[in-house]
Symmetry: C2
Subunit: 186 residues, 2 copies
């Protein structure tokens, strides 16, 4: 059976980080459910309008192997303020499922006290916010610590998506998909 990813889509999400993650994971055969936060018709950080498959409210009734949070300042603020997302993240953490966040989104983990003490990275400007509660790594494109996967920005989004895919479906599939995309694995 396909692995299942819950992909968040809040208003103000960074659309490249969002779309690269969805597209790469779907190319890898992962079943991706796009869950809108506060609705289904979402305007992203650079005004690209994307329609979610469902809302977080509906999606949170389902079972998933992993959850992924895109960056974008506005999107991360909305995710940090969502009590419902906080509960979903706590449930993923309690059940040892994979939690992935890129760019500004690691600040969402801090806001909901998720994965405290673990190693992570983020968009560089959030280093100070995160360094108190996490072991901050700033010399890697993607950081993995147990079930936590974090990355830095649009320029590392392919690496982030491919590493998440590798954990879900294995390196052979990832090599095949990255080759088809003409992307050189870092």
């Amino acid at each position: 059976m396909s692995k299942k990813l819950l992909m968040l889509l809040p208003s103000g999400a960074e659309e490249m980080e969002f779309v690269i993650c969805v597209d790469v994971l779907r190319r890898c055969g992962v079943s991706v459910t796009i869950a809108g936060l506060g609705g289904k018709q979402i305007t992203c950080s650079r005004d690209v309008v994307i329609t979610a498959d469902t809302t977080l409210n509906e999606a949170s009734k389902g079972e998933f192997d992993a959850i992924a949070l895109p960056g974008g300042l506005g999107g991360s603020k909305a995710m940090a303020e969502s009590t419902q997302l906080g509960e979903v993240l706590k449930s993923f953490e309690t059940n040892g499922k994979i939690i992935a966040a890129i760019c500004a989104a690691p600040t969402v983990l801090l806001a909901h006290s998720i994965a405290l003490g673990k190693s992570l990275t983020s968009y560089p400007s959030f280093k100070d916010n995160l360094s108190d509660k996490y072991r901050y790594i700033d010399d890697k494109r993607v950081v993995i610590d147990g079930n936590l996967i974090t990355s830095r920005g649009p320029g590392t989004a392919f690496d982030f998506a491919l590493k998440l895919a590798e954990i879900l479906v294995g390196l052979d599939k990832v090599k095949q998909v990255s080759s088809g995309m003409l992307y050189s694995l870092n």
Copy 2:
């Protein structure tokens, strides 16, 4: 005044190539109009649903400095079959404006007899289709020949977008934006 880009969004467009182009160009200060082909609510190649700003029908009444075509097999087939897009492309060519195409989209140029004889590249599998009418280049991520900019696939989409931006707004802005995205210029 801002430079203006007409960005096509057909059904079956490769959503990473599409979104990277729109987002990067908007970050660079280019005014990007997303023109849906055959409607405004478009389902892309990996089922991401994006709403265009307008239709090609409406957008083609405006003035632009450049037009860009995303890849994706289904999207390129739709663009190749669109008489209206063919007329728009011919008008851009006649007026010496910039024409940019990535992945499968250079086959759209062939279908509408645009830029015949120029140097270009594409997704590797279209080399045979294109080699008769163009000077095919397969060892560069982005190929520029006069007003024609072409590139190869999702893995070269940042380079494609940044090169298009460089031509429209200059290298200083491109360096600033790529640094902000944590993307290393190739």
